[in-house]
Point group: C2
Chain length 210, copies 2
């Protein structure tokens, strides 16, 4: 019997199941716990207790703890893409728009340190998990590349005069430098005004697009 039939059956069914599925409640609860206390500090047992189910129930919906977190990250970063597109839709010169977008990304990462940490600060042994993490960053990278291309076009630069992929990757590295530094050493380091730092850094890596 095909799996699709069973799925359809479940969807057609209108019996009074809990209004919001356990799967979603788990993800929602875990999101809060992870964000507040960090991935490693939160055990599956505590998530279960907070949700109101047994710890093993979580495994019916997520293969393991890492999958649970990765699923949360995917959701988080898809919200970032929304923010990004809406920012990039506002009018103005391409360069200004892209600089604001980069700012948006940096600020988003800093305000979601745990999601950033697990997605971008955990060394990935090559494998399927690594591929999913790369995939999470892909939409952002696409928009970055498009932004660079548009800036180049607006300034009349040919593809011989500027390496678009390289420029995009440099901006990417700058983003991760800012996010990583400010997340790990945020409060402990004598930063020279973080806000101005972000702006200067963004200016520096987009200067060749002026």
């Amino acid at each position: 019997m095909p799996v699709a039939d069973k799925l359809r059956a479940r969807i057609r069914r209108d019996s009074p199941r809990p209004r919001i599925s356990l799967r979603d409640r788990i993800r929602q609860t875990a999101r809060g716990l992870f964000a507040r206390e960090g991935y490693e500090s939160v055990s599956m047992r505590r998530i279960g207790a907070a949700v109101g189910c047994s710890p093993m129930a979580i495994y019916r919906h997520y293969q393991n703890k890492e999958e649970l977190l990765l699923s949360i990250c995917e959701e988080t970063f898809s919200r970032m893409i929304q923010l990004l597109d809406q920012e990039s839709a506002r009018p103005g010169p391409a360069l200004e728009r892209m600089r604001r977008c980069v700012r948006t990304i940096v600020d988003f990462h800093i305000s979601h340190p745990n999601h950033y940490k697990v997605t971008f600060m955990t060394p990935m042994p090559p494998g399927p998990v690594a591929q999913r993490k790369v995939a999470i960053g892909q939409p952002v990278m696409d928009r970055l590349r498009d932004g660079v291309r548009e800036c180049a076009r607006e300034k009349g630069l040919t593809e011989d005069e500027i390496d678009i992929e390289m420029t995009a990757q440099i901006i990417r590295v700058a983003i991760h430098g800012l996010a990583g530094s400010l997340i790990t050493t945020g409060k402990c380091y004598p930063w020279h005004d973080p806000e101005r730092m972000k702006d200067e850094m963004i200016l520096t890596v987009t200067r060749q697009l002026e």
Copy 2:
């Protein structure tokens, strides 16, 4: 009885104790294990087994696992300072020297990913541990600042024309961007030639010193 006396006594003693102290053997063995397999994958029990002592013996010499690693990191990064000073002592224009130094730092981090990870990629709740980690990076930052200052002087820039601390911190952020990105997503990401990337990034953040 003062502690200093006991220490002196131990040093004066020439009895046939093991030629290299257990403390050093632990650090040396743990260094290798951490570097090869990563901090979290190596348990105190395995370190003990590899050294040839009981796991709890380690605690006589290091307060806990984190202290052990931190001690290893301090040693590692002090070797980096040596490399850095010897590189910076070579002749040539200040700008060229500084660019080579930045390259040295980046390459050093990439070839010691586990030390980098624990020192710079683990969020630090403000406290004494965080202070020690900041202290580890301080000598590097001092040399960076000096390098920037010398470049500025060589080009005749006054302190009104260039914010030395800000410039140094931007370079620092670029270093961590490169190191972090290449360490976490090194093999998994379609990098546009990492070596050229490093060079371009370094050029970008030192352009205003040309």
